[in-house]
């Protein structure tokens, strides 16, 4: 990144306008320099806005002095979406209102933790469909920014499908309401809103061919701006367009979300495969049988789980190479049992694709079934030694009909570089979470990874897949967007210029002001060295402990002090972040 210098007037003005809500002491800056990603960039300042006026004030001052602004949620994103040399707005302290609107809608502030929203909705037997695994810490703002998904995207789609209205503070300091409106109502909008709607409509019309041709062959995607399926013959869905913009178009403050009724019953059945092709065929059948989630793990994952916990062997036969967990929802147990027998009939008796594993409609037993999957995720993060699971090719999605072939190609590519890896993910959407086990501090590995990444991107493009199914582009995939969408990139540029002509909003992401490589600003590189402190921490086992923290932010859920204060500095990852410097 270019080392831009800014005059100090903006700091004086921010202090004057926001007082103690703004800080730039080294400790605070260090806390916000990372997230669950492997990037590290010190922000310029951190602001804890209390209300929309505070956000407007920050934006007005920053625009005046051309200082970048970055809205941030829980910092649980993986792709560098929430770190930048910018004034960071931590929106998780306030903006926590939940207002049930009726008609299956809820208005939520951007600071609301997903699970807290779910807890509230549960009272009325409802739920919000997107369900990223970080639901215990991630907030609605971050989910809007990244167009989040989860296992149930298979049935319900990503975040953009569940948003009715979004309020966003634009870089001109004005509050914009993005809605899904009838085309013939655009003329009735006020003088501030109308030009935006008209311009977006005309842009989408003039790029309609490129939008169609540039569509990825996927069932799930969170890449670029969400320009697909938002202009229909009757409607323009401005809210959906803004979902997935990763803070580059403005600062979300609240959203009207669509909620759904909870399914009265569910059941989970597992299937074992030896051949990936068979698993691929099974996924097609299971999709047409209406499964609500199809999750998979491969042999690398199974081996990992068994090597640490041999007692899990009783849960599956030795020769199994691929495992599918399939969930069916329904109104009654009979309905689900019927779906189980349909699936067994097709997969086992008719097509002879798999062996059937455990299945149940009992919640306690379902947890047992998921044991291998759960154990491996935990173990994955606890692997001793320097090689860590690095999330850099962690979220590609390929159409479920062709993803098994893609998986074979990726495995070959990983083997060519002799990278150890584990694969798991949402098979129903062909959304693969691949984690190579690497040490970026090693010079040879670091160089190999650079080349590997280019090959991986080529492969995804060859399959017309998406580089990200649910995590967003961030710093990881932004550098490849122009290559991925050569014809659509100018449209992305136009959208950026419409909403943020000064380019102050998260200016490195999606349509970056300055070009850069994905491997700039990494937390660990061959150049990384632990600064000696002359204290007990210098011991290699303690340095390992510090580096083990990958910033996932789960401590925001359990740390008693964080729960009470809501301050990032109270979290456990804050300690590791400070000491990592």
């Amino acid at each position: 990144m270019n080392n831009k210098t800014y005059n100090n007037i903006w700091q004086d003005e921010l202090k004057q306008s926001l007082g103690s809500k703004v800080s730039w002491d080294v400790v605070t800056l260090q806390l916000y320099s990372t997230a669950a990603c492997f990037y590290e960039i010190s922000p310029l300042a951190v602001v804890i806005p209390e209300n929309v006026d505070d956000i407007v004030n920050v934006i007005n001052i920053c625009r005046e002095h051309k200082v970048p602004v970055l809205p941030r949620g829980a910092g649980s994103s993986l792709a560098g979406n929430s770190v930048a040399e910018a004034v960071v707005l931590d929106l998780t302290h306030h903006f926590g209102n939940i207002e049930i609107l009726g008609d299956n809608k809820v208005k939520s502030g951007v600071g609301v933790v997903l699970n807290h929203l779910q807890d509230r909705l549960k009272v009325d037997n409802k739920k919000f469909a997107p369900d990223p695994s970080s639901g215990n810490v991630c907030v609605i703002g971050g989910m809007l920014g990244n167009n989040s998904g989860g296992p149930h995207t298979l049935k319900h789609g990503n975040m953009y499908k569940h948003v009715d209205e979004v309020s966003i503070v634009l870089s001109n300091g004005k509050i914009f309401k993005a809605q899904n409106i009838l085309l013939n109502e655009i003329v009735k909008l006020d003088d501030f809103h109308r030009p935006y709607y008209k311009k977006v409509k005309s842009l989408l019309e003039s790029y309609s061919v490129s939008i169609d041709e540039g569509r990825t062959f996927t069932t799930k995607s969170a890449t670029g701006y969400q320009v697909w399926d938002i202009l229909t013959d009757t409607h323009l869905n401005m809210a959906s367009l803004l979902v997935g913009s990763e803070g580059t178009l403005g600062v979300f403050t609240d959203a009207v979300l669509k909620v759904i009724s909870k399914s009265p019953k569910r059941g989970v059945i597992s299937f074992y495969f030896n051949e990936i092709e068979n698993m691929g065929k099974a996924v097609q059948h299971l999709r047409s049988l209406g499964a609500s989630a199809i999750e998979f793990v491969d042999h690398s994952f199974i081996e990992l789980a068994l090597s640490f916990k041999p007692e899990l062997k009783k849960f599956l036969p030795e020769h199994v190479r691929y495992l599918l967990y399939v969930e069916f929802e329904g109104n009654s147990l009979d309905e689900i049992n019927l779906k189980f027998s349909d699936a067994i009939e097709t997969l086992i008796n008719k097509e002879q694709l798999a062996e059937v594993g455990a299945y149940s409609t009992d919640e306690a037993e379902i947890l047992e079934i998921f044991k291998i999957r759960k154990a491996a995720t935990v173990i994955l993060n606890k692997i001793p030694g320097q090689e860590k699971p690095v999330p850099f090719i962690e979220d590609a999605s390929i159409h479920p009909d062709i993803f098994p072939k893609f998986l074979v190609d990726v495995s070959n590519l990983l083997n060519k570089y002799s990278f150890k890896y584990v694969v798991f993910g949402h098979a129903g959407d062909g959304n693969l979470h691949i984690r190579p086990l690497l040490d970026f501090k090693d010079d040879k590995t670091y160089k190999a990874v650079e080349e590997f990444m280019d090959n991986f991107v080529e492969l995804v493009i060859a399959y017309n897949g998406s580089l990200t199914g649910e995590h967003g582009d961030g710093r990881l995939r932004t550098p490849y967007l122009q290559k991925r969408f050569p014809k659509l990139y100018p449209l992305f540029e136009e959208i950026k210029l419409l909403f943020d002509p000064e380019r102050i909003m998260n200016p490195d992401i999606i349509v970056p002001t300055n070009k850069y490589q994905w491997n700039e600003n990494l937390r660990y590189t061959p150049e990384y060295k632990h600064t000696l402190t002359n204290s007990g921490i210098d011991g290699s086992n303690w340095i390992n402990e510090i580096e083990k923290c990958h910033g996932c932010g789960t401590c925001r859920e359990y740390c008693p002090v964080f729960i009470a204060t809501g301050e990032e500095e109270a979290t456990a990852r804050a300690k590791a972040n400070i000491l990592e410097e």
């Binding site: 303690w542 923290c549 359990y558 008693p560 729960i563 109270a570 456990a572």
Partner: protein
């Protein structure tokens, strides 16, 4: 760094199990090379000494601690919050067990020794004697969990060395060292080995150390308790102290409590009580400490128990202050239920 209370929750809940308390302690140690500890911190790090002095004249101490103007003066001069309830100090207690084949060393922390002699201390001794054990109560010095938490590791070493010397003969004879206090147990079984390396005598003691609930439940599984339990018809809530949770014990305390017939153990969504040992005693932390505990207090109040059980002296103080309910050590109740002629 001061916000890390060394509750040990990261050791159980962090997906990567990063030893955050460990690194925070070392960071605090470094920070305090230049910055001296406050008076309140010095007092609280020497809890045993303070307790020992207070319990030489318990009546005077108790009256003093419950008199507002005196508490205001203490707050002003030391930084200990005047709103904080302090436990009553008891008269010091001496006991000698009759000789027996089976022996255990009972390590009772400050809370049992100076505050709850009638409860935690006497009942722990009694239950083992009923089970036919000779209870050895050695002269010990503070486990120093507070000093370690404050990063004051260096000054904790003399006491630890002293304790190692006292306990070593027992450990070498394979006599188990039983901890009634969650935090003392945590210090021995978790903290020492992190910061003190290469002390084989200490390792022997660590290996001989067991939490009292864990030990009693394993005796129960071995059939040692037979079936001599009187029903206790009480509605209770159990709170798991942080330092017990992170000990990675084999059994849960609730397993042990379920032995007691008639006991109505109400399940709650348990969480941190907020006192974090000495943290919540300081003036600057009192409000935050009560705020952290508020979720637990509400849970307990909703459950409407007659009393709360928890094997940690400071959790007991905090829950009592937050809910007004009596909080006792689980072993106190277990011993009341367990009937066998001494």
């Amino acid at each position: 760094m001061d916000y890390c209370l060394n509750c040990g929750q990261c050791l159980t809940d962090c997906p990567t199990s990063v030893n955050i308390p460990g690194i925070a302690i070392l960071a605090k140690e470094k920070l305090h090379e230049k910055k001296s500890f406050k008076i309140s911190e010095q007092l609280l790090q020497n809890g045993k000494l303070v307790s020992q002095l207070s319990s030489t004249l318990p009546t005077v101490s108790n009256i003093a601690l419950s008199t507002t103007p005196i508490r205001k003066m203490i707050e002003y001069s030391t930084g200990l919050d005047s709103r904080r309830n302090f436990p009553q100090f008891s008269k010091q207690f001496k006991h000698e067990s009759s000789k027996a084949e089976k022996k255990i060393v009972l390590w009772t922390g400050c809370s049992a020794q100076y505050n709850d002699t009638e409860g935690e201390l006497k009942n722990s001794i009694e239950i083992f004697e009923k089970l036919g054990y000779e209870v050895i109560l050695p002269e010990w010095k503070c486990c120093n969990v507070a000093k370690i938490t404050y990063g004051n590791i260096g000054s904790a070493l003399p006491d630890i060395d002293f304790n190692v010397e006292v306990l070593l003969p027992y450990a070498e004879k394979n006599i188990p060292i039983i901890f009634t206090s969650a935090s003392c147990g945590y210090a021995f079984m978790h903290e020492y080995s992190q910061f003190i390396k290469g002390n084989s005598n200490l390792d022997k003691i660590i290996n001989a150390s067991v939490d009292i609930h864990d030990f009693l439940y394993s005796l129960f599984l071995d059939g040692d308790f037979a079936d001599s339990f009187e029903p206790v018809n009480a509605r209770i809530v159990y709170h798991d102290p942080c330092h017990l949770k992170s000990q990675n014990n084999k059994y849960g305390v609730k397993d042990l409590l379920k032995i007691i017939p008639g006991l109505d153990l109400v399940e709650i969504d348990d969480s941190c009580c907020g006192i974090a040992g000495t943290f919540g005693m300081k003036k600057e932390n009192f409000d935050l400490s009560m705020k952290i505990g508020s979720k637990l207090f509400t849970e307990i109040e909703t459950a409407k128990p007659e009393m709360v059980l928890s094997g940690c002296g400071t959790c007991q103080i905090q829950i009592n202050q937050g809910t007004g309910l009596e909080v006792i050590h689980p072993v106190t109740l277990l011993n009341k239920s367990f009937q066998r002629g001494i």
